[in-house]
């Protein structure tokens, strides 16, 4: 079944066109990787998909689970199962991780007409999930991302994904700032969620992460559109040859 369908998407930020005719279809259970040079518009794509203010769709359309998402508020997209692990996670002073996660999970449950979670059970679950990602109880008491190292932030993104169990997770440079061991831990966390139905859209610069989370498709994204698609061997080729060979059209 088709989960995400992007058709001839054009989008701009502050009146400047960044996405210029992008097509992409992601089916249930598939893992797609997008690789592309700095400034190509990869993060912009993630914001357009999630509905961030200021990122305007000027042409084409996006369907998620068969619904056009243009008029869906950010939180509704999230509650429908769209997740974004941010390239630069945001600090929220004064809000502990546990409180934040509890609000998120309960908002999700409310959306699906489920009763609120029992706090005690919830905390037990989060602690278990955290442990697998190397996040201990003391860290869960800290305020969201405040004073976290780059790697800790990425682990916290992975924890949120584990707790929220989205149907489509966009991982925007989920590997940046992670040491080799942490990358394995995060990759394991992501892989644990794969059940044949959940899908992933992985934005990365390096093939390394893709060794741990194997993609079904690799897309090369440049100047606002996908210029080449292939299987995971494309990522290896890209690592050897660099973007210029593809972007200039002679790859």
């Amino acid at each position: 079944m088709v989960l995400l369908e992007i058709e001839d998407l054009h989008a701009s930020v502050n009146g400047k066109e960044i996405i210029k005719g992008l097509n992409l279809v992601i089916n249930e259970g598939e893992v797609h990787a997008i690789m592309g040079p700095n400034g190509a518009g990869k993060s912009t794509l993630s914001y357009v998909l999630t509905g961030r203010e200021g990122y305007e769709i000027t042409g084409g359309r996006i369907k998620f689970k068969g619904r056009d998402i243009n008029d869906m508020p950010i939180e509704e997209r999230a509650n429908e199962g769209l997740f974004l692990s941010m390239q630069y996670p945001v600090e929220i002073p004064g809000v502990s991780i546990t409180t934040f996660l509890k609000h998120a999970v309960n908002a999700n449950r409310k959306y699906h007409n489920l009763p609120e979670l029992d706090t005690f059970e919830f905390i037990k679950q989060v602690r278990q999930d955290g442990k697998l990602l190397g996040i201990d109880n003391d860290m869960l008491k800290r305020h969201v991302n405040v004073g976290f190292s780059g790697g800790e932030k990425k682990r916290l993104e992975a924890l949120q994904m584990t707790v929220l169990k989205p149907s489509l997770a966009i991982l925007d440079e989920a590997d940046s700032g992670l040491d080799i061991d942490a990358m394995k831990v995060v990759a394991n966390g992501v892989n644990a969620l794969r059940d044949g139905r959940r899908s992933l859209l992985i934005i990365t610069h390096y093939q390394r992460l893709l060794n741990y989370i194997e993609p079904d498709f690799v897309h090369i994204y440049a100047d606002g559109k996908i210029v080449k698609s292939g299987d995971k061997s494309l990522a290896e080729k890209l690592e050897k040859l660099g973007y210029s060979n593809f972007v200039c059209g002679n790859g």
Binding site: A78, V90, I92, T99, A107
Partner: protein, 403 residues
């Protein structure tokens, strides 16, 4: 208790109160309600207050009032009158304000300095003199209830609180209403507070008056040797509200924390005015005031710190921060540092900001609605102040009330 609270005509010391009241009346009549030309009142403009157009008493309607659910000794005023059915432990002596010692009454809150103190003093009919003689096991909660229908009630309540030497105590004041939410009643409150040596008073106040009401309060505290006064005021009600706190640190090692939080919408003006006087060397003060202002409302903070000559080793810090939720919201801040001594540590700061789009986005992509995300950020913002409430039950209750 019967007869104790009769009006002052029959109470001892009546001559002194009468004299002070008539002097206060003269002062108020000659100066009137302050206008925008009065420096202390240039941001908070009480011009709509026509004190002759208020009623001094009102038919009392029996509404259900909000009560703070904490374990406490309780006193209550209903429509400006003390409810004489109360039960106090031995360590809290409650008497009529007209039994207050003459050497204290009227000496802490000066009728010459503040027009509303003069107005209160000219009109006192009710109030309590509270003497705390040994350390309290529970806080004393004073609830001021206004239950009015169509009457514009005007209450001038006057209290004097005396904390004896070596005593630790906690007082919570709560202003609430029931009935006609559009009532334009006016509460004009003066508290004189004297904390003797080696003593402590934590004074919490929660102001939730009706949205068209007026609330003006003057708290004047005198803090003795090695004593500590903590004042924490949370304001969220009234159309015009001012909570003014004057603290005199009157002996060495006297210290105070004067903190406040306010949250408002609509057209309200909420004012926090403080004046800390470091009258002895090695006295310490800290102030943290945070506000959240929406709609077309206006938050005002005026903070004055006085450190006269030779007051060495004094520390005085002050910080005001506000979050503006709309383009029409306004905040006016006036710090006044009067420092004439060397060798003091003094700081003040002010910052105004808006909700951070990045934070809201981050919360919403996790499924949290925009409204809830804003509330969470507001809660977090005010928690710097609210978390200073040492009474856990009160803290949780207040946190829920700011929603």
């Amino acid at each position: 208790m019967a007869g104790l609270f009769d009006r002052f005509a029959v109470v001892k010391g009546a001559a002194y109160f009468k004299l002070l009241a008539s002097r206060a009346r003269e002062i108020f009549d000659s100066r009137g309600i302050p206008t925008a030309k009065t420096e202390e009142w240039k941001y908070t403009k009480p011009r709509g207050l026509d004190v002759d157009n208020y009623e001094k008493s009102a038919v009392q309607f029996m509404y259900d009032f909000e009560e703070i659910p904490i374990d406490a000794y309780r006193l209550e005023f209903i429509n400006g009158r003390l409810n004489q059915n109360f039960d106090m432990p031995e360590e809290i002596r409650v008497e009529s304000i007209f039994m207050a010692p003459e050497e204290l009454f009227g000496h802490l809150a000066d009728i010459n300095k503040n027009p509303f103190v003069a107005l209160n003093t000219a009109n006192i009919e009710e109030g309590v003199f509270i003497r705390i003689t040994s350390t309290l096991k529970k806080p004393l909660l004073i609830t001021y209830k206004t239950s009015v229908n169509n009457t514009n009630l005007f209450s001038n309540i006057r209290n004097l609180i005396l904390v004896e030497e070596g005593v630790s105590s906690e007082i919570v004041e709560y202003f609430t209403y029931a009935g006609n939410e559009k009532s334009e009643y006016f509460n004009n409150i003066v508290n004189e507070i004297c904390i003797k040596d080696n003593a402590r008073l934590s004074h919490y106040k929660i102001q939730e008056e009706a949205f068209k009401a007026n609330h003006i309060a003057y708290n004047a505290a005198l803090v003795g040797y090695k004593s500590y006064y903590k004042s924490l005021c949370v304001q969220k009600g009234a159309n015009l509200a001012r909570n003014e706190t004057e603290v005199r640190l009157a002996d060495e090692n006297a210290a105070t924390d004067v903190d406040a939080a306010y949250i408002m919408n609509g057209w309200a003006t909420i004012d926090t005015t403080t004046w800390i006087e470091h009258l002895y060397p090695r006295t310490y003060s800290n102030q943290l005031v945070k506000g959240v202002v929406g709609g077309q409302a206006k938050g005002v903070f005026q903070g004055r710190i006085s450190i006269p000559r030779d007051m060495v080793g004094v520390e005085g810090n002050q910080l005001h921060k506000a979050l503006l939720l709309s383009d029409m919201a306004e905040v006016d801040v006036k710090p006044e540092l009067e420092i004439y001594a060397d060798d003091v540590k003094c700081s003040h700061g002010a910052a105004t900001g808006v909700l951070d789009e990045r934070q809201l986005f981050y919360m919403r992509i996790r499924g949290i609605s925009e409204e809830e995300a804003k509330q969470m950020l507001i809660d977090a913002y005010l928690d710097d102040v609210l978390s200073k409430i040492d009474n856990n039950a009160l803290y949780s209750w207040v946190r829920d009330r700011i929603k």
